[in-house]
Point group: C2
Chain length 201, copies 2
């Protein structure tokens, strides 16, 4: 399980779409949210769009592995889908914001946390404005939120600078796949080898 | 700085040569040793071959960043060359055995430790015999040593299974390059970005 977070406007969405399209070992966890759909966003594909009441019911019945409030809306990760995809051997990507990411890491310490950043602050502002889907007031809110988030970047495992998107996709894939070879993620293999070697004693 | 270790006969040497040949960001630290040259090995290229007296003099004058004894011989890492290559921005590879590797990690905690293993015990024995450069007695010594080493694999960061060499080379390169994106290795970048973002306050 891995989490991709990043300031609004860093191109997390594009990165995640490209990973899913280019490689077949990934599955994307679809989040539930109370925010309104942006143009082109589909229920059950980009998000499960919920009313506040529906969302609060999901919290109560423990259908979410984490949830958080972010700029006046709820966001959460439905449990069922994640568990199913992990069982299929997929690397399950959670594209969630920082509060949720840190809660996930606490509950599931094996989770890999990646944080996507722009090459610099001006690029971030330009991308947010260029998106053209938010009011100036919301853009300001998102930039303020980004400033707060910089304080917690050190809680993440990897930092991915999104300058050129293709390069960023390749880099991110390499990071995720390399993590599979961490010694701690291969305890079983090491133990089998240890037993196997004993025949030379 | 990174260390590649592994049981004798796992193909560490081939792996390291391929990394140096295929990519231009690596430099190999040449070790000093008291063991005799194998056929084709050149002084100053594969090792600096030293007498016991010369080696002990290097220890006394602190010309080695680490040294260890392994199957009756001394092995050590001369300091000068490593520091020079790091200053050039290279990823400096130390192909050293486990004792030395763990000492290096203690002294320089940022060092990345990779351990190369065979897919299974039989493959290891077959490769050691196939090399045809050691007596059966030495092969037995090396296998016993390998059994001891399995206990310390968990002190390493990454495990690389050398089954197909080409795949192993690519995987190892991806692991090493991905490590450059660890958040802890990018403190300076994060601090610059944090300062840069403050202008949106």
């Amino acid at each position: 399980m891995l989490v991709i977070s990043g300031f609004a406007g860093t191109g997390k969405g594009t990165l995640v779409s490209a990973l899913l399209e280019k490689y077949d070992n990934y599955a994307l966890s679809v989040s539930a949210t109370t925010r309104s759909p942006r143009q082109g966003e589909k229920d059950g594909v980009h998000y499960f769009f919920k009313t506040r009441e529906e969302f609060q019911e999901m919290i109560r019945s423990e259908e979410l592995i984490e949830y958080a409030q972010y700029v006046d809306n709820y966001y959460g990760t439905p449990r069922d889908y994640v568990e199913q995809k992990l069982a299929e051997g997929k690397d399950v990507i959670l594209e969630i914001e920082m509060q949720g990411a840190l809660k996930i890491k606490e509950k599931f310490p094996d989770t890999l946390l990646l944080f996507v950043v722009p090459p610099d602050a001006d690029t971030l502002q330009k991308r947010l404005k260029g998106r053209g889907t938010e009011t100036p007031e919301i853009i300001k809110k998102r930039l303020h939120r980004a400033i707060e988030e910089t304080e917690y970047i050190f809680k993440y495992d990897y930092l991915v600078v999104n300058d050129q998107i293709d390069e960023c996709v390749q880099k991110t894939h390499a990071i995720i796949q390399s993590e599979h070879f961490r010694v701690q993620r291969n305890e079983d293999f090491v133990k089998v080898l240890q037993e196997d070697m004993k025949k030379f004693k």
